[in-house]
């Protein structure tokens, strides 16, 4: 009974249990095309910023390729540098 009355002062840290994996290694992708906007949208948040590895779970090698592809896409006007509601 008393258990329900417990109010947590800070939100309990809910553990993200699903195992993150690098989708490039798993699916055998070797090249990230900087011209393919809707594929790159998966790696940027709704402000247009590149998502960190801890959220996407990509390996360091492919995170660098993703970041470079996003920067190239921004240069040729496919992706915005900054926006408020991308998705």
């Amino acid at each position: 009974m008393a258990r329900e009355q417990i109010q947590y002062v800070t939100a309990p840290k809910v553990e993200d249990t699903r195992k993150k994996y690098c989708r490039f290694k798993k699916n055998g992708i070797k090249y990230i095309d900087y011209k393919d906007a809707n594929f790159l949208l998966k790696f940027i948040n709704d402000q247009g910023k590149v998502l960190p590895r801890r959220l996407t779970g990509t390996s360091l090698k492919f995170q660098r390729k993703v970041a470079q592809a996003v920067k190239r896409a921004r240069h040729i006007g496919i992706l915005p540098y900054v926006t408020d509601s991308l998705k």
Binding site: G28, I29, Y31, F39, H75, I76, G77, I78, Y81, T83
Partner: protein, 124 residues
């Protein structure tokens, strides 16, 4: 000979044949200097994600070619000189990129429009 890929964005103010003439001019620069054009792709008028030179649309053109290394700097000087070219990007392609582009031209990705992503190569 290294393989390269260059994307140029022309100002939308050009009429269609003026745009074609600019593209022909750069194609001749490439072929005259011993480059071999592998593939050309014309995306035409596309909306830009942010205004470039106060314009919101741009005429995109993609050229994939094999060329000796020193031709690239000459090509980019020509891009800078021509004011109809708003923006350009030249990229050297490694073997994975070349394989990817070859697969893309052969239409390998079109058939299986994968729900997750278009350029997903499922291994094995």
């Amino acid at each position: 000979m290294q393989q390269y890929e260059t994307v140029i964005i022309l100002t939308p103010l050009l009429s269609d044949d003026a745009a074609k003439e600019v593209i022909a001019k750069f194609r001749s620069i490439l072929t005259d200097n011993g480059a071999e054009i592998v593939h050309e792709d014309n995306w035409g008028l596309k909306k830009l994600a942010y205004p470039i030179e106060k314009k919101t649309t741009g005429y995109y053109h993609l050229t994939e070619f094999k060329a000796p290394g020193e031709l690239i700097s000459k090509l980019e000087v020509e891009y800078k000189r021509d004011e109809r070219v708003m923006r350009f990007l030249t990229v050297a392609l490694d073997k994975h990129a070349v394989a990817y582009n070859a697969k893309k031209h052969s239409g390998a990705f079109l058939k299986k429009a994968k729900p997750e992503t278009s350029n997903e190569e499922v291994a094995g």
